[in-house]
Amino acid sequence: MTGGLFTLGVIIIGGVDTGWTFYTPYSSTYANTWVILAATGIFINGFSSIATGLNFIVSIHLLRAPGLTWFRLPMFVWTTYATSLIMVLATPVLAVTLGLVAVERIFGGGIFDPAIGGDPLLFQHLFWFYSHPAVYIMILPGMGVVSEIVPCFARKPLFGYGFVAMSGLAIAALGFLVWGHHMFVSGQSIYAGLLFSFLSMLVAIPSAVKVFNWTATLYKGTIFLKTPMLYAMGFIGLFTIGGLTGISLASIGFDMHVHDTYFIVAHFHYIMVGGMVMAFLGGVHFWWPKMTGAIYSEWWGRVSALIVFLGFNLAFFPQFILGYLGNPRRYHAYAEGFQVFHIMSTLGASILGIGYLLPLGYLLWSLKYGRRASRNPWQATGLEWTTPSPPPTHNFGETPTVTGPAYDYPPAHRELVIGEGEPEKN
């Protein structure tokens, strides 16, 4: 909160003109805006991430329910664990880096200042040591959500549980060794570039493990195309596109070509919006009955999932082409030949906007007018579905004991009814 107030305050009193990356020496020597104040805000937010991560790690290690062994944990807990590891291990480096920038601004001339032999690239190293893993902080929980949704709506156990769990940790760990791929054209040594390029491609392995395991879970499953499942399938497809373009970006030659173009923008949005936001919406729709005790309109849910998917692709796929053709990012003007793609993109973005507004409407509507949810509307496994919806303040009256693996879905028939409200009681 305090951190957020600082950063918002900065926006109001005059903003920061360093770009989001705070690259030195501009941020440390030349910028005349509120860099220190913004850095303070980020610093305080960093503390809150560290505390959150610490809380999750210790809780997952020491406060599991009896019988809930490591390999019975829901996948969402595994990915939260991996995310927390990143928060705990990466955030302090960003904090100290911003501290050094502040020191340099206060005392004038400093650690990243080339005039005394300092190296601005050192800032980039430290900055990306945090900021690359930070994108995994964003995507890993999304992967966890999808791993929850897919088995539930395919009515099958998650394929290769151990591999999915470990691939999350592998992504978290490998994510710390690849930051140099943001610096291919910044003047770092070409040999370091080679190392980072190779390591970046390695991240594709655990990511692919996840994608293949989700697909294998779907194979011969009894698939119910409910709203959360539509979002999860959208995630799998869009994340695959985002991931594959990520591999091509990891190769230095191609990166030189599309560096700072719309290609990067499209890649990033396929992972973050196509991946994370889809997973977020899927998760909201999956747990909405649990969180609020209300059942939303399934028809509207499916329609908006479809609109989001179509709008997203229309908005960002043309940007791959634009970027490949050489349209740079962060410019307000573009060459005439690119106009048709830009129009497509704008149109897509508008459709996407509608897709995002719809859930706001029908989810809020369901709070008042929706049917009441039972304890377990999706017939899902997992402890959260054994408490009333919405859960009481003390989630469980008595600490539950876990006796079986996660995702213990029995084979199901087409006739199974899930996602309906509580039957009317007389």
């Binding site: 290690h61 610096m183 040999y191 370091a192 190392l195």
Partner: protein, 115 residues
């Protein structure tokens, strides 16, 4: 209160730390450069291990605690190693003057304009 048995390791560790402190000061007069840095770091690491295992009781801690301690140092190593991968290999790609057949630009990424 006289020293009980369980406290003896603490006093021994302190003695060891003092000996190592003397050793590192002594070595700094004998060695210099890379060798000196390596000796100093080796001594500092042994001091750290003494503090961690005896004072901080890592020898009797659960495995999760040791795991956390290892992770911290491993990640510090990641940060130092990958950053050094850049700084130590800079300039390797410059063509040696002998084999260069024509004037090559010394930098590739910056064009200086003359006004």
């Amino acid at each position: 209160m006289e020293t009980s048995n369980s406290q003896r390791p603490l006093y021994l560790a302190f003695l060891g730390l003092m000996v190592l402190l003397a050793a590192t000061i002594g070595c700094s007069f004998v060695f210099s450069g890379l060798l000196g840095a390596m000796v100093a770091m080796a001594i500092a690491t042994s001091k750290m291990l003494l503090v961690m295992f005896i004072f901080m009781d890592l020898r009797r801690s659960p495995s999760s605690v040791r795991f956390a301690a290892c992770a911290g140092f491993l990640w510090l190593f990641f940060a130092v190693f990958c950053t050094l991968a850049d700084f130590t290999t800079r300039g390797w790609n410059e063509v040696p003057e002998k084999t260069a057949t024509r004037e090559l630009p010394t930098t590739y990424d910056r064009v200086e304009f003359e006004n």
